[in-house]
């Protein structure tokens, strides 16, 4: 363990350096070969599951995107790239794409900011801290359908407690908020998923915060930094690796997420919550066009892949800078 608290991970270089005195050159080579075989054997079950359950079905879905499939008779006619050109030219697709972006940015942005803030708060030394942390995990463990129904009830304009609280009880606002108006409904959806997923962010960041050496903070304080500066120059860079990893994974999740976007308002009103996954569902089941739906899903996959590559690039740059 280094003095500043980071744990050394054994690099290949270290492995070789450690193993070298114990094994002659001939043994070193064969050890490395058997090592690779061993490694591949260890990885094989995972790869097997992956290929059978994900890659092969994905290939089947890719295949169906080049066909027009009659829902009831299951006849398939090859149409080449027609499904793809149809989707690129349809305004509904691009509108859904825009909504997916708004939703992803809103959801991930809010989850990140609030999650990190909650982590900072929960890091403080108080009694019962562990108990509180376990309790805060609750929203994450509630299944999506239950969480959405609870929030729909809270936001209901007839029996809901949110508007009653703000208008009648506390009097902070004059008119009730129309939670399901097309202009507001995406906000409601973001709030629901913020509540459900901020524990996820909070606990990951919190764990990372545990390893932040107190000496660094103390040193900064001695140097005259105030609370904000301590956060910005010490804490933030420390948690940045975790934040970026979560950013990648959660962004992928947000783009693909169906339940938390569809269940609150069914894609409406007036398509205000129809993101790409919701759009796919409507194409598949309302219009019965499975081929077209597969094409859209493929297009979505490509976009997410591009986005992830971008993240990887940023991550590598950040890692280099952090040393």
């Amino acid at each position: 363990m280094h003095e500043d608290g980071t744990i050394v991970t054994a690099t290949r270089e270290d492995q070789r350096n450690i193993a070298a005195p114990l094994a002659g050159p001939k043994r070193k080579r064969s050890r490395r070969n058997t090592g690779t075989v061993f490694g591949l054997l260890m990885v094989t079950p995972a790869l097997l599951v992956l290929v059978c359950v994900m890659l092969y079905p994905a290939y089947v879905a890719l295949e169906s995107s080049f066909f027009r499939i009659a829902l009831v008779t299951r006849e398939e006619t090859f149409v080449g790239l027609a499904n793809y050109s149809k989707l690129l030219n349809s305004p509904e697709f691009w509108a859904s794409f825009k909504r997916s972006l708004v939703w992803s940015v809103g959801a991930i942005g809010s989850q990140m900011v609030v999650g990190v803030a909650v982590a900072l708060v929960l890091d403080k030394m108080v009694r019962g801290r562990n108990f509180i942390r376990g309790l805060v995990l609750f929203p994450y463990l509630v299944p999506a359908i239950v969480a959405v129904l609870i929030w729909r009830w809270i936001f209901s304009d007839t029996v809901g407690v949110a508007n009653w609280l703000m208008v009648d009880f506390l009097g902070i606002i004059d008119r009730p908020i129309p939670w399901f108006h097309p202009d507001w409904v995406m906000v409601s959806v973001v709030i629901m998923s913020l509540w459900k997923y901020l524990p996820y962010w909070a606990l990951f960041v919190l764990a990372r915060l545990q390893t932040l050496p107190q000496e660094l903070l103390e040193a900064a304080q001695i140097d005259g930094a105030n609370a904000w500066q301590r956060f910005w120059y010490v804490t933030l860079p420390w948690i940045m690796p975790v934040v970026i990893v979560l950013l990648v994974l959660r962004s992928i999740w947000a783009f693909n997420e169906f339940d938390m976007v569809y269940l609150p308002a069914g894609g409406g009103p007036l398509s205000a919550t129809t993101t790409i996954p919701v759009y796919i569902r409507s194409i598949a089941f309302d219009y019965g066009d499975i081929g077209h739906a597969s094409a859209i899903a493929m297009a979505m996959l490509v976009m997410v892949a591009l986005l992830t590559n971008f993240y990887f690039w940023v991550y590598r740059r950040a890692e280099q800078r952090l040393g």
Binding site: I69, L71, V72, T73, R74, R152, F155, S156, D157, T158, V159, P176, P178, W179, F180, H181, P182, V185, A265, G266, G267, G268, P269, L270, S271, R281, S282, A284, F285, D286, Y287, G288, I290
Partner: protein, 469 residues
Amino acid sequence: MKRQSFSRAWGTASALSLAVALAVAAGPASAQDRKIVPFLTAESSPEAVTQLLGLIEQFEEANPDIGIELQLTSNDNRGPRIINSVSVGDELGIFEIERRLVPDFTRAGYLLPLDSIVEEIGVDKFIPGSLLYWPWDGNLYQFTSDLSAATLYWRKDLFEEAGLAEPDSYERLLEASQKLHGQNNVSGNAFEASNRGGVQRFVTFLWQNCGDFYTKDGEMAFDREGTKQAVEDYAELNKYAPDGSHSWGSLDAVNAFAAGRVAMALFPGRLGYQVGTKAPDIAKVTGNREARVARGGEGPRVVYGAVTSYSIGSTVKHPEEAKRFLRFLFTGKPLLDYAMGVPGHIAPAIKEIQAEMLEQDNPYIKEHRDWVETILEATTYFNAEAQNMGSITDQCEFKKSLVPMPWSSRVMGREPITSKMFQTIALEGTPVGDAYNAAVESFQTEMEAWKAENGWEAPDPNWVPPGMQ
């Protein structure tokens, strides 16, 4: 963690899971000597399900060689579930068929004819218009389990206080909505513009104003004069519905009324039952009457209603057993028991069972017998938008048509054209005339697109279904 205890723990956990998995996998073998008939239904309210389970048990005791596999689904998921089964080639047993899928399924030959069941009972025992014969070949592919029809619920106490007359015409509906809106947290009415409500509440207005969606031969009817009047009237009343009602799900209107937040609601029997059993204080001051919603209370006698029906898939493994169960469940005493699960909401299609219902010793029926009578009567003059295309003739008569709307998925699927129309009026301030014209165009375009892709031939216009002579 200690090395040994870890290994032991890991080993035990794996062994245990494996044992359980093997045990459960071996389990179902015992049920394999019975003939299993799948039974898919979306009537998943707990009271109805309790009844269903009891009736299934009864049937299985009387027929030990048959097993009924109950498959519950929500209304939203019913369509996708059926479509998934079909696209995978799975067996479709008895299933509550999604209305908009009937034309495609029937034309593809996926459904078994069920005429024999009706012949055994006698077609005049059924309420006229409750059996959905297929107009192109006269067969019956859907067996009716129950009906529902909408009536008007209103708050007698609020009306009395404000000195309002009973709402039996558009003018009175409007006056009441205006006067009662905003007093004591109450909204004038529950005439919603939600995806579902924008169709189910609106159609009563449409038909009583002599309008309709399409004619019996599949031509446009939404451009009729009466339609525009209905749209204007409904849009006006919609102003006095609760703000968030355009996002309502299927039961929010019921909850709103039960919570005392709306003064009027147009809804099938489920509302009466919920209010009667869950909100007795509100129920005491609630009236229930036939819905008259056009100007001066004029217009044909028709309301929104629906037929719940079950089909048997042609891929079913045990067709005779399936038919036997269907006949058992939805006739005679089982039907009565099933309907008593949620009286008023589940209305039997057989006349004598309806009469028997009213004599049952049930607290809801005892307390609100007049409600149930009104609702049961409404089942004799209801109409369904996707099932009965062109029932309102241009002579402004209600002649129930059994021609289903083949393209109903497109115009009344997830985002029905009428709901969208009312939503743009209410939420985006579009003038009623513009929204209406856009809707007319959409109805036209979708119909023509479907006809171009699928080919359309109207059925024999002179065909009269059995029991409706």
